[in-house]
């Protein structure tokens, strides 16, 4: 699978921001296995960029394509196939099931198209220090814990692209390192590409390319 951007620009952003951007209105191709870091200050469109790539928003000009197919033409079923098999995501706002337990949040993704056995969930939770929270409702976890839950959830499926939107914003140094180690390990297992958007270059992420938005 290959993701390509052809002169993509949000329809709501000021023209001067577009002209200074290295992403908006440019032609970009993200190859499998690449580690891309997108850096930009708050409010410059990082989350919009990640959402455009994931097909969650259509308020942009230009074309985002998967395998040379404009994703604006995809229906919900086609997106479901890509999201089960080719592309995974950690949202900035995490998007967890607040009322369900941590384990249910992870299992619901694992059961859809499992890459690991369910026992791996516990191992990952232990690795990131949240194994004691597995049977607790998600809403009782701190934001940092929820960030780690969202990351583990994203790693339960096969993918060729992993989209990360400020995934470490509420983590301390120790947990940042643990999370990035786990991500690197899982990405390497799948030989997948990572596109990470953050406010500044992320520690412990060895990017092949850093693009200023």
């Amino acid at each position: 699978m290959q993701i390509e951007l052809q002169r993509v620009a949000p329809t709501y952003i000021e023209p001067e921001k577009i002209s200074t951007s290295h992403i908006w209105n440019e032609v970009l191709v993200f190859q499998p296995g690449e580690k891309i870091q997108v850096v930009a200050p708050s409010g410059s469109g990082k989350t919009s960029f990640i959402h455009f790539l994931y097909g969650m928003r259509k308020d942009y000009s230009g074309t985002v394509s998967y395998n040379n197919q404009d994703i604006k033409t995809f229906n919900a079923e086609t997106f479901a196939v890509y999201r089960q098999q080719h592309i995974s995501i950690v949202f900035q706002d995490l998007r967890l099931f607040a009322e369900q337990t941590v384990l249910q949040n992870l299992e619901i993704k694992c059961q859809l198209n499992p890459f690991h056995s369910e026992s791996k969930i516990e191992a990952m939770a232990r690795q990131l220090g949240i194994e004691s929270k597995l049977n607790k409702p998600c809403k009782t976890c701190s934001y940092g814990e929820q960030q780690r839950i969202a990351i583990i959830r994203a790693l339960q499926q096969p993918f060729e692209y992993l989209l990360l939107d400020e995934p470490l914003s509420h983590l301390d140094q120790v947990n940042r390192e643990k999370v990035m180690d786990l991500i690197a390990e899982e990405v390497s297992l799948r030989q997948a590409a990572v596109i990470l958007a953050d406010l500044k270059p992320t520690d412990y992420f060895k990017a092949d390319k850093t693009i200023n938005l």
Partner: protein, 395 residues
């Protein structure tokens, strides 16, 4: 491991609003029971009230005239060609023909053997409508003997009422056919004498029938005005008790012999009652399905955020629709199965306890009832699936 409803159940708010869910189940059950029982009763009525009159060739023959009331007495009561054609076109009428009657004065006398004299009337109809047609029932111009077919009832009336009152001899059917009576026809050409010979009796037609060739000739010969208007029509139908036929005749204000159609009138009323009941059953089913659809809409609205998130993380809307709607298939199966069983028990009780095991009714429910139950099951599943799918695609 394949995904099932069990996996997504914790993410859906299904437990709330139990009352409306159970009420819709109950309503669906009652509605299906009403509908299936009505269909079974409809079939029972048809079976029990089939035409009881013996039919020689599988058809009923009904004479039809126009109703004569105080209000329309002065008008013509003849049928037009268009009205005859309309009758012939009806799907429940197999054939129809007009009677032809005499338009001149006819008198019969029995001569020395049978001392009586009376004005008479005669009629003709297409030969295909006659139940007995001896080869001698023909007439051509110049023939002095007119073959006659009379209603079997007439001979009975003559032998039991007329003959004893006048001290006249009684006749067997066979002896009557050997008798020749005098027939005088009066008109423009004066009075001419013919001889009449009863050649057959009819159980079907309650009149005096002569060959059409004679009556057509005689009407022209004695009146110079041709045949009279069509005042009476004979209908040939598979079932004189067919409610559609009776409704049509009522609507047209045509008069028929009520005895021939009495079962039909009873059937008409019963079928109307049962149809009303079936209509009520359909209404209850619709209301129950509507109530259940509200429950589903509420469930999906309450689970909206979770369902949206499931779609966002890669769950297919089609899979979700199928899985969510499949959850209620066993419920529908149980409800419709119970209603069918209840119908079978009711029907069995009716056949066994009310009808005393009469042969016309099978103790088992008709296959149409089972087919309708299956159809309702399929319909419920499809409607449910389409509703859930529509709601999920809207998210």
């Amino acid at each position: 491991m394949s995904l099932t409803f069990k996996h997504i159940a914790p993410f859906l708010t299904t437990g709330k609003n139990k009352a409306s869910r159970w009420l819709s189940y109950f309503g669906l059950g009652i509605g299906v029971l009403l509908l299936l029982s009505s269909i079974q009763m409809y079939i029972n009525i048809n079976g029990l009230l089939k035409n009881k009159n013996p039919k020689k060739d599988g058809y009923d023959y009904i004479p039809v005239t126009k109703n004569i009331s105080n209000e329309n007495m002065a008008q013509s009561h003849a049928f037009t060609e268009a009205e005859l054609l309309e009758l012939q076109k009806q799907p429940f009428i197999d054939d129809a023909a007009a009677f032809l009657s005499n338009k001149f004065v006819m008198k019969a006398n029995g001569g020395a053997t049978l001392p009586f004299s009376s004005d008479i009337f005669v009629e003709s109809i297409d030969e295909k409508f006659l139940d007995t047609l001896p080869p001698s029932f023909t007439w051509k111009e110049g023939d002095q003997v007119i073959p006659i077919i009379i209603a079997a009832d007439y001979l009975e009336l003559y032998n039991t009422v007329f003959a004893p009152s006048r001290d006249l001899p009684q006749f067997s059917e066979k002896s009557l056919t050997s008798l020749l009576i005098g027939i005088d026809c009066e008109g423009f050409n004066g009075t001419e004498r013919f001889r009449g010979n009863v050649v057959a009796m009819s159980d079907r037609i309650n009149t005096v029938i002569v060959p059409k060739s004679f009556l057509t000739w005689a009407n022209n010969h004695y009146t110079h005005a041709g045949n009279p208007e069509m005042n009476k029509i004979l209908l040939k139908t598979r079932d004189a008790n067919n409610p559609a036929l009776l409704s049509f005749l009522q609507e047209k204000d045509y008069h028929i012999n009520k005895d021939k159609t009495k079962f039909g009138r009873v059937k008409q009323v019963l079928q109307a009652i049962v149809s009303g009941l079936a209509g009520f059953g359909v209404l209850v089913i619709l209301l129950a399905m509507l109530l259940f659809s509200f429950y589903l809409q509420l469930m999906i609205a309450r689970s909206k955020e979770n369902l949206q998130l499931l779609l966002t993380i890669g769950y297919s809307p089609q899979w979700l629709s199928k899985t969510v709607s499949k959850k209620w298939i066993p419920v529908y199966v149980i409800i419709i199965l119970c209603a069918t069983l209840a119908t079978a028990i009711l029907h069995w009780s009716f056949q066994h306890l009310v009808m005393n095991n009469r042969d016309e009714l099978s103790p088992f429910i008709h296959w149409i009832v089972i087919a309708v139950a299956l159809l309702l099951l399929i319909l419920s599943i499809v409607v449910n699936y389409r509703l859930v799918r529509k709601l999920l695609y809207k998210l």
